[in-house]
């Protein structure tokens, strides 16, 4: 892999706490000395948060589809109506 992708892999291992204590310390020292690297780490952290947000939204869409499907079942719809 080209060096940029190797760095992304390293950042991933840092973010997911897969580096040894020693490697973590070395990496964090690089972060202190290298502003652009720190920015890339932060952007990668946000990327992972957005992937998770995307995945959760996909789940929520599926739950809504299940709800709409169940509303077509008379017994389910009747039970919901009786709650109002």
């Amino acid at each position: 892999m080209r060096s940029e992708l190797n760095e992304i892999q390293l950042i991933d291992r840092y973010l997911f706490r897969q580096l040894s204590t020693e490697d973590t310390q070395t990496f964090e020292a690089s972060l202190m000395a290298n502003g652009p690297l720190a920015e890339r780490v932060e952007a990668q952290r946000i990327t992972h948060r957005l992937v998770r947000l995307f995945a959760r939204k996909e789940h929520l869409r599926r739950f809504e589809a299940i709800y709409q499907q169940l509303l077509q079942e008379p017994a389910f719809a009747r039970q919901l109506k009786s709650t109002t």
């Binding site: 946000i46 995945a55 299940i66």
Partner: protein
């Protein structure tokens, strides 16, 4: 045959909707909290941290009730794992994340699906290669990092433009 989540939904939601109504809430609020609870249930199940002391239904009803009470206090009900939590000195608002995600959905939807398969669904590289049409797991791994790079760069650009 029903998916287990559909059966659980059918069996549990009417009871929860009744509970929320009794406490003065609406059906829509009940549904939102119930969906948050389902999400927590599925994520814990996948992570192997779902410790049921009773039935799945009882767990779901209890969690949904907590989610609903939290929405009344406007607190987020689904914290992220520590490693991906935002750093306190760089707060990203929920709204900013929503805006960023909308932007990524326009330009990098395939990458979002690929990264979701890897990081969220924990699919194997071989499965991902088959599903996304890559030439083997090695190629899928490289593509995963390329996607991370692409989305990361777009996020940096969006954040720069916003500042």
């Amino acid at each position: 045959m029903d998916h287990p989540i559909t059966s659980l939904y059918r069996d549990s939601f009417p009871d929860f909707a009744r509970l929320v109504r009794r406490m003065g809430g609406s059906l829509e609020q009940a549904k939102d909290s119930f969906h948050d609870a389902l999400l927590i249930y599925l994520e814990k199940e996948k992570a192997g941290t779902l410790h049921l002391h009773s039935t799945p239904k009882a767990y779901l009803l209890g969690t949904a009730r907590i989610c609903w009470l939290q929405t009344l206090k406007n607190k987020p009900s689904m914290p992220l794992p520590d490693t991906l939590e935002q750093s306190p000195d760089q707060p990203e608002s929920r709204e900013m994340e929503e805006n960023l995600l909308r932007s990524l959905l326009r330009t990098g939807k395939k990458c979002l699906h690929l990264l979701k398969a890897f990081y969220y669904d924990n699919s194997s590289m071989q499965d991902i290669a088959t599903r996304f049409g890559f030439n083997g797991s090695r190629s899928a791994t490289v593509q995963k990092y390329k996607c991370l790079e692409k989305l990361r760069n777009e996020i940096k650009t969006e954040l720069c433009a916003a500042n």
